[in-house]
Amino acid sequence: MVRITFVQHGGAEHEIEAAPGETLMRTALDNDVPGIIGECGGELACATCHCYLDPTLLKDIEPASADELDMLQGAIDATADSRLSCQVLVTRGFAGTRIRLPASQI
């Protein structure tokens, strides 16, 4: 397990234990972290699992697929740090990272 922190737009933090190999979206939902909806259940069809990753971590992990980049266009307030959390697998490298959430998913 690795400890990671979800940071709400308003600043509230949820530090939780994440299992490597699990998606960030599932990890957030299973730990009742608010701010991620995951409407489509990870089918890459809804863009309601939007989050911002630390730019250094982002460089180290598997980059977003063309389909994810496509769907990210449907997210609100997307930036260069944006990912769809149902497509991001937790790795050991996530230890201590802070994942920021947008003001609103919808």
Binding site: E39, E43, A45, C46, T48, M71, G74, A75, I106
Partner: protein, 402 residues
């Protein structure tokens, strides 16, 4: 019962006389009927009606079947009974992955959170306009005056078609989905296809920024869509957001008419409306879809054969007592997770974000203008609609307009 239609592998004790079109009468509460059925019947049964179908009758089995597209295919039709061959398949709903996923892309983007921000503005404008006309009258027939009109107007805006043809299309759509005679349903579907076909030709010749232009000009597997694909796709997008949203609006309004405590609470706490909508979607889910069994298999302990058809009724999920405690009770703070009102898996409703926005905007604006209202029994009261999409045929309301 037409026992000739019962295949040899179906055990006799699992056969029920179930016809989805006559399952409940128009004066009966359809969800209470599903409540009786799901909490008393076998988890899976077989009906000879509509050409012979298995019917899932348990929340866990429904949740397992919906995402299992490899065992339960949509490509051979999701209609009950299946549409005849001359009707083009409804896309993307009557297709399997990976083709289906490729088809979904323009729709996913158009109905994404960002897309819905814009659509919600239109939805609010239309909603306010209609309610402002209704409110001073002190009464209305909600289905005719609001829930049939609003989703059709919104569809016409999304695809940039003028609203002159609204009444014609509402009539066709109603028969295509709710007609009780198969031939009438298929004829209405044919007329709708012909209507959309003309608009599709215009959007191919001169694409705009509307959803129809995005869909009909898309590429799938590196080729443009065929005409049949374009027509099948636009038909689904049109029908997908009409009866469903209209039905949910009517059932929500009936619930509020019958529960003064709930409507007052939501009027004073509009921030709770999204949670209330989630709970209402659980308790009053409306859609039933069908699938085709792709291989001999055992499901829920029962042997299915390749080629069997099976119904997946989402209305039973929210009223299964093994899944929800006091399932019939609407608790505004229940915050149900994983209700099945929008399905599950690869076919899960792409219109869910828009539908929730339409329902939220509707409740906000209605309760602000018409906070207290009751069902007008003197005008016949509530009439239910049964079939593949539940809803109401009539919901006469009265209130004090002064």
């Amino acid at each position: 019962m037409e026992s000739a239609r019962i295949p040899a592998h179906v055990p006799e004790h699992l056969v029920r006389d179930f016809d989805i079109f006559t399952f409940v009468g128009e004066d009966e509460d359809a969800h209470r009927a599903w409540h009786d059925q799901v909490n008393n019947g076998p988890d899976l049964f077989f009906t000879p009606h509509s050409g012979g179908f298995w019917v899932i009758n348990n929340a866990d089995l429904l949740e397992a079947a919906l995402p299992d597209w490899e065992l339960f295919s949509s490509a051979q039709g999701i209609g009950i009974p299946p549409s005849p061959a001359e009707i083009p398949p409804m896309l993307p709903i009557e297709a399997d992955d990976p083709y289906h996923k490729a088809l979904r892309r323009p729709l996913n983007l158009a109905l994404s959170p960002k897309g819905v921000v814009e659509l919600a503005k239109s939805a609010r404008e239309l909603t306010v306009g209609l309610i402002d006309t209704i409110a001073p009258q002190g009464k209305c027939e909600f289905v005719h005056d609001f829930s049939l009109k609003m989703p059709m107007e919104l569809f016409l805006r999304i695809v940039d078609i003028p609203s002159n043809d609204r009444e014609y299309l509402i009539g066709l759509a109603n028969t295509a989905i709710k007609g009780t005679v198969d031939q009438e349903r298929f004829r209405a579907m044919g007329a709708m296809n012909a209507y959309l076909s003309e608009w599709i030709d215009r959007r191919v010749a001169l694409p705009g920024t509307d959803l129809m232009s995005a869909i009909v000009n898309m590429d799938v597997d590196g080729r443009p869509l065929t005409k049949a694909e374009q027509v099948g796709y636009m038909t689904t997008v049109m029908l997908g957001g009409l009866d469903t949203v209209g039905g949910m609006m009517a059932l929500t309004t009936r619930h509020m008419a019958l529960n003064p405590g709930h409507r007052r609470y939501l009027r004073n706490h509009p921030d709770v409306i999204p949670d209330a909508i989630e709970e209402i979607l659980r308790r009053y889910a409306i859609s039933t879809v069908a699938r085709y069994v792709t291989r001999d298999s055992t499901f829920g302990g029962i042997d299915l054969k390749e080629g069997d058809r099976i119904m997946l009724p989402t209305p039973l999920h929210g009223v299964d007592e093994t899944r929800w405690d006091n399932a019939l009770e609407v608790r505004l703070d229940r915050k149900p997770r994983d209700h099945m009102a929008f399905g599950k898996g690869t076919h899960r409703c792409p219109g869910a974000i828009l539908a929730r926005a339409e329902l939220r905007i509707f409740l906000e604006e209605w309760l602000r203008r018409i906070p207290d209202f009751t069902i007008d029994e003197s005008r016949g009261g509530v009439k239910w609609e049964t079939g593949a999409v539940l809803g109401l045929k009539a919901l006469p309301l009265v209130w004090n307009a002064s």
